[in-house]
Symmetry: C2
Subunit: 478 residues, 2 copies
């Protein structure tokens, strides 16, 4: 890194202390910052190598090491075992009993035993191993970026669970490491592979929405009692603790990813700036009080400060479109990711149900929506969608994602989600925190492509020489 | 006015020139403004007289003068004619033929002929007349504040169509005139009287939502071809021209009014600050081109600059809740005002339909929603709702509003919507313009109650000695 770069990183790190990770203070901004929107970006640096559209050398067999075998990871091991041309060569979790449980899954799927890693530094040893091409990592959030960076530095492609970064500095390190090593860094944004999302993406490509004007995505899902305050859910209550570290949106990518793909973010347009607003905390602090009154285990959370219950973000793109992203995981309400697209010729909205598409004042009838599915579902869905529904994983989208990732690696195709998507989508977390802590001041979104967005091509919705990866006969469900 | 006040007004007026009404320029803000959110408010002034909860002397008969007899006004004359204890003594429109048409409506309803006013200054003469207690004014937007202020100065109560003000200065003049004259200034926000909105308001009062955290309202209604670009719709295309005068939201109160009532805005809480984002114009400019190509009448709109197609606003209240307000009247999509309430115990959403209420992960079934309507519809609905559906006007809400207004005036009750509601709800138009023109910078919302919000009581949902006003037998529909 040149000295400017180091200097920049120091500044951001200093900024990160006061601006990015605070949960209550109105951060002090310099006069210099105050007369424009806040910025953490540095446009002078040149891109070393463009990872957008990058095709890595073909891998006939993809040797996978899975790090993180808790709630999300255990399911991943089973799903990946259905895919031919895959060898799960390594399993890692801090807790050895989870590794043992994953070995049982491999046995059930007639897969050979994998090498075992555990303990606090097990993941580093796995990343250094010679038997792994792809590190697949559903760990607690704080480990995503460190594992992704260490994997690439050790010559591995990496597929990391959302969110791939918690700070702007981590996001830039993902970009610089991927460009320097020419290893893929894909964020496993599974919601980009859901059926209505892929339908609307392909309809946008075919011009049915005209020019997109506005999009909306969200993560509205009451996790408070069943997950955040559930002793059995997340090791050492890590996910609840994340709600005590920073204000703003903790989980924007499920809503943003599919909208960003429809708007060709980083591939013809980019996110320019955002503003974010959080309410006070009306929920988590109260639940902590209530739980502590029943169970001393929760005493440590009593009287603590939690992020605001409801967070909203507006993002404006360089080409003048807007995106609304919402986050609320602690009020009682039905699940929603919204997924709304509003264009000059049509609009679509998935939640609240039923799924709806309109080309004017009226929504299309159910049978017309069915016809649109038949005509505009992209190749990846028509090719693997039905099998994916059988394998499952959030209704099939998880398996479409896994299969597509492996099929691209085996055929030397670019991945649907590159490191710029991982960095920019995840950067919304610290940027929304920064805006919230500065009375919703507008904040520039760094251009992680450093100009390449102007010429980067939209992701390819055809199989383009792929689709050669077969799926194993389904084992009887246990 | 004291000199400080005059000085303030000059500053705001200067500000208004550069900040409030611009449609494209990024306004210059002073260093002094730049290190905090922008502000147009002045907290030092004291309230002269609190019009919140103010009960004017009873009027046994309410003599009404209607100004503006176009699309909205003609319907108002018929609706008001159904109400006993009302005399429509004066009719005014710039165009005499509209006055004549309204006289026919009165005749049809067996009402006596009213005095006629027309021409550019007809409205002033009506306001000065001795035969009018209440001026009811559905005119083009730019006349709302001038007519309301002149009506009160001439000793009349005024009921003005939305929006009641287009600038912060107009909003303050409404407040100061109402306080000085002790005349009611009610904005006719009819959406506050729709059935689901009143149901949820009463459910909030009964604690079914716990503490409200977040609310959403909107005006999403494609008016572009049927109204804005319709030669026959609005005199001299005034409503289309409004889209060329300012950026931001032009029409926030239909969405905001019902949410503001649920959150007790100006009556226990207040709007503290907002941020607003607009997209580019992707619609109106293109339609102007298209229309001009077919009809030279539209040449004057060709190549003109229109406000951004889609506008979004976040408002944060002093007690830490948030409100999302959306405006889009030119993309093809189904009608929606959203009306979403999210609280610590329940959530509700009206659009997209069906109407839904949830006390957890699942929405209540249709029969449970019906039971909630039966149990929690407030007195005004159970008293007049069914008759209102017969009379009509947006499904009945217009007549509920008209009847309630007259019944309160006849019984000397405070009005549901006071001048502080009219001023603060309407102020969102120039404030969103100011934020949009300053890269979504946060903007303080003036406290039009000047502190009285802390002790003002929520509006009364009982009839409280009212309900004495009868409705005439319905005439056969023509």
């Amino acid at each position: 890194m040149n000295s400017n770069r180091r200097k920049f990183l120091r500044n951001v790190t200093v900024g990160a202390g006061t601006l990015l990770t605070g949960i209550d203070a109105l951060a002090n901004v310099t006069k210099d910052e105050a007369d424009k929107s806040l910025s953490t970006s540095y446009e002078k640096e040149q891109q070393r190598f463009n990872m957008c559209g990058y095709a890595a050398p073909k891998l006939n067999v993809v040797r996978i090491g899975v790090i993180g075998l808790g709630m999300r990871g255990s399911g991943a091991v089973e799903r990946l075992s259905y895919i031919d041309g895959v060898e799960i060569t390594a399993l890692c979790d801090e807790l050895p009993d989870r590794v043992a449980a994953a070995q049982k899954t491999l046995a059930k799927m007639d897969r050979p035993k994998a090498k075992e890693y555990s303990g606090a530094n097990g993941w580093k040893a796995l990343c250094e191993s010679k038997d792994v091409d792809l590190v697949y990592t559903p760990t607690p959030w704080e480990l995503h970026a460190p594992i992704a960076i260490y994997s690439m530095k050790n010559g591995k492609h990496v597929a990391t669970e959302v969110n791939s970064a918690l700070t702007i500095e981590e996001a830039w390190q993902l970009v610089e490491t991927s460009e320097a090593t020419r290893k893929h860094c894909m964020m496993l944004e599974n919601c980009c592979y859901d059926f209505f999302e892929l339908l609307t993406l392909n309809m946008v490509r075919n011009g049915l929405f005209g020019e997109l004007v506005h999009g909306e995505g969200a993560y509205l899902h009451d996790l408070s009692r069943d997950y955040l305050f559930n002793k059995k859910a997340y090791t050492n209550m890590w996910r609840l603790r994340e709600n005590m570290k920073r204000n703003g949106s903790l989980y924007p990518t499920h809503g943003l990813g599919p909208i960003a793909q429809c708007m060709n973010i980083n591939r013809g347009d980019k996110m320019d700036h955002l503003v974010s607003m959080s309410t006070n905390d009306f929920t988590l602090g109260a639940i902590a009080e209530e739980m502590a009154a029943k169970d001393a285990f929760f005493n440590e959370f009593k009287g603590k400060k939690f992020r605001g219950s409801n967070n909203n973000i507006f993002i404006r793109t360089t080409k003048g479109k807007s995106i609304l992203i919402q986050h609320d995981v602690s009020t009682p309400r039905p699940y929603s990711r919204i997924h709304q697209l509003s264009g000059t010729k049509a609009m679509a909205q998935k939640w609240p149900g039923p799924e709806r598409i309109a080309f004017g004042h009226q929504e299309v009838k159910a049978e017309e929506l069915k016809a649109l599915y038949a005509k505009y579902s992209p190749a990846i869905v028509t090719h693997i969608g039905e099998i994916a529904k059988e394998v499952g994983g959030h209704g099939g989208m998880d398996f479409i994602m896994d299969w597509r990732l492996i099929d691209c690696l085996r055929n030397g195709l670019p991945l649907d989600q590159d490191v710029y998507d991982a960095a920019s989508w995840s950067s919304i977390i610290p940027l929304s925190n920064l805006s919230v802590n500065n009375k919703s001041r507008s904040v520039d979104v760094p251009d992680f492509t450093r100009g390449a967005w102007k010429t980067n091509k939209p992701l390819d919705l055809t199989l383009n020489g792929g689709g050669t990866t077969s799926v194993r006969k389904l084992a009887p469900k246990q």
